[in-house]
């Protein structure tokens, strides 16, 4: 059944989208809310995967392994935050330095470049054992996490501290004038953001059954693609919409990839598109999304001029 097999392709794309979507939430916090281009994320996603894999292999409860991964990511965010706020290293460079250092840390944690979890107990295998169909556990676990996280992040945005954090990304001068220490809020945003990214990496390692030193390469670009697709498809009315939009963007992104790969698999193109080619395609998606609003403005203003 061709159709059914297509649907399964799409479903597994959606599953990856939901799990990676947690990373998208973290990046949304730093990139959109805090207005901080944080390149730590490539390293903290892998860090999450490494910690999760190593602890699972050591027999720790899988959910605890994911929480430990999250904590590791928070520490990575703290390091970037300290580099930026205390040592005054520019935001991009602070993230790059942490990311670079994390490569060593991640290798040390895993002891090798690829850490397999063959036949280990993961959060997914545990649910399978409870009788949930194996094809659905990924999506179910992912969605449960995502729903809880969106509610938590939403509530956080509504607190005094969350409000000050949002204002820091919007107008730091105003926050200082109102007695807020913007450095603290930047740090907090980086900690929470990277915690979410590492949580995503931690789940991913358990889902795919391994952690790899390169699993985080391009995380920032993938995250941006998800955020931007979400913004195109979904209204920005409330933070619920925006956060859900990130997940939807991530899911759509993964489904697009699943479909492209599927088509190329069945067709007779001279060049077969592989998963590695998706990096170029993703970069193009982000470039289009970045310049599209500007192009639209230019087009409209040109149109208006000619109309006169």
């Amino acid at each position: 059944m061709e159709i059914v097999s297509w649907l399964w392709n799409i479903q597994s794309g959606a599953t990856l989208g939901v799990i990676w979507g947690i990373m998208g939430l973290g990046l949304y916090l730093t990139y959109r809310v805090l207005n901080y281009a944080d390149l730590t994320v490539d390293g903290s996603l892998t860090l999450g995967g490494a910690i999760s894999a190593v602890y699972v292999a050591a027999g720790v409860q899988p959910i605890v392994a994911i929480l430990l991964a999250t904590f590791g990511g928070m520490m990575a965010g703290l390091v970037t935050g300290l580099l930026h706020t205390k040592l005054r290293i520019p935001d991009l460079l602070a993230g790059i330095l942490t990311q670079f250092a994390l490569y060593t840390v991640n290798l040390r944690i895993m002891g090798k470049a690829n850490f397999g979890l063959l036949n280990q107990t993961t959060i997914f295998s545990q649910l399978k054992d409870l009788g949930i169909p194996s094809k659905w556990v990924g999506l179910i676990v992912g969605l449960v996490f995502v729903v809880i996280l969106i509610i938590l992040v939403y509530c956080f945005f509504g607190t005094e501290i969350g409000c000050a954090l949002r204002a820091t990304g919007n107008n730091p001068d105003m926050v200082k004038a109102m007695g807020g220490n913007t450095k603290v809020y930047i740090m907090l945003g980086l900690i929470v953001g990277n915690g979410l990214v590492a949580m995503s990496g931690g789940m991913l390692a358990q889902y795919q059954g391994y952690a790899d030193i390169n699993m985080g390469v391009g995380t920032i670009v993938i995250g941006l693609a998800s955020i931007m697709i979400g913004e195109v498809l979904f209204s920005k009315r409330t933070y619920f919409h925006r956060l859900a939009g990130v997940i939807i963007g991530s899911v759509v992104y993964r489904i697009i990839i699943a479909i492209v790969l599927r088509i190329s698999m069945n067709s007779n193109f001279i060049v077969k598109i592989t998963a590695d080619d998706m990096k170029l395609i993703t970069a193009i998606i982000v470039i289009i999304a970045l310049v599209a609003p500007d192009m639209k403005d230019r087009f409209l203003s040109k149109f208006a001029k000619e109309g006169k």
Partner: protein, 265 residues
């Protein structure tokens, strides 16, 4: 109240473009003083206000507010004592956030922020009352983004934010300069009312000499980083624009006589 003693501040120290923006500034305010500040472009008016607000540290000198030495305090710590409105209407508010969120931030100025959720209905009622008082039609727009407001509405809102929690000191740096004359007048009137209502100790920079004479109980003039003229009481009330112009010419050798900014109404 506020005491500035022997304050010095230079920019780009040790470079060919070094600028000594404040040179031995001394000023002592009494509780409830409403001081207007005038002076040519680059006289150091903004730098003096920024020094008080803690935007940077000064090289030398001491600044105390209400007896507390704040000279070494970072900006956000001094905010506990100070309400501020800037020249740029975009600078005092978070444009992507709602009116009520901006006001809620202001209500917590100088307070430690916590994970307490949301804005209480009581606070909302307070916001509506205060906004009604502004008479700009903002009272039923609590959940409008501030970015949608006009420059005048934004400045009035910033003024409200600066004073919603009574500050020991209010700093206004040409806060009506970016507005059209009619709106500027309205914002100035609101300023006057708020300052009087709460008996706020205020420093107001203005480029308009008439306003400098009309408002406040004391007037100071700055030139080349120092205060060169300081009048209050009856003497200030009886000032005329021509007196101020004469003073300018005297200190600057005539260069300000044609400064259109100074003559603007």
């Amino acid at each position: 109240m506020l005491e500035i003693s022997h304050v010095y501040k230079s920019f780009n120290i040790g470079t060919p473009v070094q600028k000594d923006a404040l040179m031995d500034v001394n000023l002592k305010l009494n509780e409830g003083d409403f001081v207007t500040i005038i002076g040519g472009n680059g006289a150091g008016k903004s730098t003096m206000l920024n020094a008080v607000a803690g935007v940077f540290e000064v090289e030398k000198g001491k600044i105390t507010i209400d007896g507390t030495d704040v000279t070494k305090f970072p900006e956000y710590k001094r905010a506990k004592y100070i309400g501020r409105v800037f020249q740029d209407p975009l600078r005092g508010t978070a444009g992507d956030m709602w009116i009520e969120e901006n006001l809620a931030m202001a209500l917590r100025r100088g307070k430690t922020r916590s994970f307490v959720w949301g804005i209480s209905n009581k606070e909302r009622e307070q916001f509506v009352e205060l906004l009604k008082h502004l008479d700009l039609g903002l009272e039923d727009r609590l959940d409008s983004k501030v970015g949608l407001l006009s420059g005048g509405q934004r400045q009035a809102l910033t003024l409200l934010m600066a004073t919603i929690k009574k500050p020991q000191l209010l700093l206004l740096d040409e806060h009506t300069a970016a507005l059209d004359p009619k709106t500027a007048k309205k914002v100035l009137e609101i300023t006057q009312r708020v300052v009087e209502e709460h008996n706020l100790t205020t420093l107001m920079v203005t480029h308009n000499m008439k306003d400098a004479i009309k408002y406040g109980n004391r007037l100071i003039m700055m030139h080349n980083g120092t205060i060169i003229y300081d009048v209050s009481g009856e003497e200030k009330k009886n000032l005329h624009v021509s007196d101020l112009l004469a003073k300018f010419e005297q200190v600057s050798g005539g260069e300000f006589a044609n400064d259109r900014m100074m003559l603007a109404n």
